[in-house]
Assembly symmetry: C2
Homo-oligomer: 203 residues x 2
């Protein structure tokens, strides 16, 4: 009676096949450049077949968003092992920005896409993001506890730092830094990060 199990497995493999193809195409052409027919062609099935495994295009987006969230978690993971909370916070911020700069499309998907957010909050992707965010807030809390800040408003401190990092990456990702020569942009971003670290010390 292993047929049902086999079918189940094949179904899951097919879902993964679609996702992998979508992922590859996305890295090549960006999100806007990919459509269902492209994905279908890549896996050598008809477009209609896709809809037997994913309700609609959004569901594929959500799955990719989850992959992006996992990639981000892995990228910032090294920061978690830093003992000192202050240094951990700095390393976390540095890696967060580094992730956004190196994977603008994923960052876009996670934080800038206008995809319908209503249906996403109970999903794995959002949970994963929340977990990373919780780790971030906990690190800020540890810094507050150890008197690295004058302020004790953990929530506001965390949000302020996040605003800076997110603003930095998204201005870069969405190309709103054009008033600065291209070869200065990364340097400016680095100086800005250092500056925020200094600012934070007297917060």
């Amino acid at each position: 009676m292993g047929i049902i199990q086999r079918k189940e497995r094949e179904k899951e493999e097919m879902r993964q096949l679609i996702l992998d193809a979508a992922h590859d195409l996305f890295r090549e052409k960006g999100y806007d450049g990919v459509n269902i027919r492209h994905i279908a062609e890549a896996i050598e099935y008809s477009p209609a077949t896709i809809y037997l495994y994913y309700k609609d295009k959004n569901e594929i987006y959500y799955a990719l968003q989850f992959m992006a969230a996992a990639a981000k978690r892995d990228h910032v993971a090294p920061a978690m092992s830093v003992e000192n909370p202050w240094e951990r916070l700095i390393e976390f911020g540095r890696l967060y920005i580094d992730f956004g700069m190196q994977h603008p499309d994923w960052y876009d998907l996670l934080f800038l896409t206008r995809a319908p957010m209503e249906h996403i909050e109970n999903q794995e992707c959002w949970q994963l993001g929340l977990a990373t965010h919780a780790f971030f807030v906990e690190t800020v809390q540890a810094c507050v506890d150890q008197r690295y800040f004058k302020s004790t408003d953990t929530q506001a401190i965390a949000y302020t730092l996040w605003c800076h990092a997110h603003g930095l990456v998204s201005l870069f990702v969405r190309e709103r830094m054009r008033m600065y020569p291209e070869d200065q942009r990364v340097d400016l971003a680095n100086r800005s990060f250092d500056m925020l670290v200094k600012m934070a010390t007297c917060l």
Copy 2:
């Protein structure tokens, strides 16, 4: 020989008619919800007529982007008359964020839309944005000159402040603040702004 002038004028009026209709529709339904046929219906012309006045949909977007830039300039204009550079800077930041919160669709269009940026840099909209940005940088420079900051890296200071404000607004606009209860979001944004002002004092 006033016919040519009249035709010229009528052509300009038609362009404005299209733009006004697009603007109204956009405020109602958001950018994604508006298409050429909607605009055509609103002005009671056929869709093809639109293309006699605007090369393509992007050109209409650019024109709307210009309107958004003008609206933003007008919104932050009161800050320009503040004498003291430090207070001017704070007021400018406050109004910038206020604009983003009150007109998320316009802010989106100006700073978050993935519209092709290549063709925009020589246009009025970009010039307008540059002018506002220049005013911002000049204000930071005035603060630097009057020793409001310890640092003298005007560029990095300006960019850091912009990152924070932009991050704050865009997290709000693109609904990535869902981990905070809705009624706390504005308050958190305010606390974060106050915090950044404090941080900046010891920069």
